[in-house]
């Protein structure tokens, strides 16, 4: 098994060794990390966390728009660590996840991947 070390910045820097091939939601919960979740297939955002260091593969997620991704959000139920990672977890990491959609609209390049248009130079 290829292992990665996951550091939880907002849980006192606690570290966990996880299987690189499995979703972080599963591998962290199995080690006792209390995480929110909902759909468990990458569609609903409830398990979102913020990646502050490292790289992950979350190609199966369909919940995040490009602004949320730019702000570092990842969907733990489908995210697999490509490197060692540092995360902020739980709703205390959700400060930039939610925004009033009328008061703070998205630019065309900030929409979800399937409808976003490239940012003009």
């Amino acid at each position: 098994m290829t292992s990665r070390t996951i550091t939880l910045a907002n849980r006192g820097g606690a570290t966990y060794s996880v299987d690189a091939r499995r979703p972080l939601l599963d591998t962290l919960r199995e080690q006792g990390v209390d995480l929110p979740y909902g759909c468990k297939y990458g569609g609903c955002i409830t398990c979102a966390a913020r990646l502050t260091d490292g790289q992950i593969d979350q190609r199966r997620q369909v919940a995040l728009n490009n602004r949320q991704i730019a702000n570092g959000y990842i969907i733990l139920c489908v995210a697999r660590p490509l490197t060692d990672c540092t995360l902020e977890i739980g709703v205390d990491s959700h400060g930039k996840l939610y925004r009033n959609p009328f008061a703070d609209p998205l630019e065309p390049h900030e929409l979800k991947a399937d409808i976003a248009t490239p940012k003009e130079a």
């Binding site: 759909c39 569609g43 728009n65 939610y98």
Partner: protein
């Protein structure tokens, strides 16, 4: 007719039922940061009781993250003549988990979990997810499912037998329907109406306004051939019908009149069968957007729910972002007359505090007593959408209020003696959503 099945022989009989003394209300922790299951509350609604206006029982679901939302009975007046049936089991779906919780109310004050139909099994056997509206159908049950197993639209309809076994897909075809949401059927006219929210993968993460323009949200109402189980006609509502949600036919089973609230357009849509036998539709109410000091554009009402009194005389709806509940006399369904309005919460700051409780969120789900005199209101819409529009709900929780309704000439008034503050729940602030009563209510029963 002597009869011993569930419900009532007619809407008029339902109106004579004893007053509701218990309410069942959904409360959620999904999306709140509190790592506890969502739960079903029993609320004491008997003014003679010492625990009136309090939560007297909490039934926790087995796991976290379901997002309980709407619910429905195993049986209603549609099998009033079937003595083998009783209104005993409440089907309580989780939108995010797709789990169906079957709750036994044989002890009405303390419902217990009977069984769980697992979301994974539903997905595997029917390729459906995200359960929403539950209607009993004679002795069987159908549930609108808003997505396929991957959360893409249009989903379809899950068919359960009376013992909650999965029969399969109810519909023969979804035709060209792009999205599902709510539905209601009127069997004497062989018709079902359904509305459109969005794919679960679109609405579950929250609301991006731009996705409306990209046609990710609905703008149609569909009429079905109920017996053939396939759509037969679509009303394209366009800009007048953006995000059409709750669908209600008249309770009178002989009527063809039905209504739907278009949430984002903040319009009420009315349809009926004309003298030539053709189905027609029109917009009958248009709620004006309201200016807001901090918004670049005026605030739409966002009609999150509609409801019709059991005598079909009054239409109620909530403007979740404005913060008002309205009552219209619809005795002439083409020409509704505004007869009552009350304010609670909302973004326009008209009534930030009611009965000593700071109202976070706006009026959202409503349930009316069978006699039409008491309207129970809760304030949470959907966890992610709450978090966008009313982020303080995370610490304040939701609340339930009661509105006294004048059924003679019309009029509404918030009852000063009833408030349930979900900000003070034992495990921390939760959010309350749909309400039902043990004996049936104004959105649970259909007459065949």
């Amino acid at each position: 007719m002597e009869c011993c099945g569930p419900g009532y022989a007619s809407p008029a009989e339902a109106m004579k039922a004893p007053r509701e003394k218990l309410l069942y209300t959904i409360a959620i922790y999904t999306g709140t940061g509190i790592q506890k299951p969502d739960y079903l509350c029993t609320i004491d609604a008997d003014p003679e009781s010492p625990t009136y206006s309090q939560v007297i029982h909490r039934l926790e679901m087995p796991g976290i993250g379901d997002e309980l939302h709407h619910m429905g009975w195993n049986a209603c007046s549609s099998c009033h003549d079937d003595a083998s049936m009783s209104r005993r089991y409440l089907i309580v779906p989780g939108v995010r988990s797709s789990n169906l919780h079957i709750v036994d109310t044989i002890d009405p004050r303390a419902p217990q979990l009977h069984k769980v139909v697992e979301g994974a099994e539903i997905k595997a056997r029917t390729d459906l997810s995200a359960p929403h509206t539950v209607h009993c159908l004679g002795s069987e049950i159908i549930i609108s499912m808003l997505g396929d197993a991957k959360g893409e639209a249009p989903g379809g309809y899950l068919h359960l037998d009376k013992d909650f076994n999965i029969v399969g897909r109810w519909e023969r075809s979804m035709g060209d329907i792009p999205f599902g949401y709510d539905f209601w059927y009127q069997p004497r006219h062989n018709v079902m109406a359904s509305s459109e929210w969005a794919a679960p993968n679109t609405f579950m993460p929250g609301f991006d306004l731009e996705e409306v323009g990209h046609l990710k949200y609905g703008r149609r109402i569909h009429l079905w051939d109920f017996e053939k189980r396939e759509p037969k006609q679509t009303f394209y509502l366009g800009e007048d019908g953006l995000i059409p949600l709750e669908v209600r036919f008249h309770h009178d089973p002989d009527s063809t009149h039905g209504f739907c609230g278009a949430a984002l357009s903040a319009n009420i849509i009315h349809w009926w069968k004309d003298g030539a036998g053709d189905w027609q539709w029109e917009k009958i109410i248009d709620v004006e957007n309201e200016p807001h000091p901090e918004w670049p554009i005026p605030v739409p009402g966002v009609i999150s729910v509609i409801l019709i009194s059991m005598d079909d005389r009054f239409l109620y709806f909530c403007n979740w972002l404005h913060g008002d509940i309205r009552q219209y006399n619809i005795e002439d369904p083409h020409n509704p007359v505004l007869t009552g309005q009350v304010w609670m919460g909302g973004l326009l700051d008209r009534a930030p505090e009611v009965n000593g409780v700071r109202v976070t969120g706006g009026p959202q789900m409503i349930q009316l007593s069978l006699d039409g005199k008491r309207l129970y209101v809760t304030t949470s819409l959907f966890s992610t959408w709450d978090n966008q529009f009313y982020p303080e709900i995370r610490t304040n929780g939701g609340c339930m209020l009661m509105v006294n309704c004048d059924t003679e000439t019309g009029g509404m008034e918030i009852d000063p003696g009833f408030v349930v503050d979900f900000g003070k729940e034992p495990n921390g602030p939760s959010r309350c959503h749909e309400t039902r009563y043990p004996g049936g209510d104004c959105t649970s029963d259909i007459w065949v």
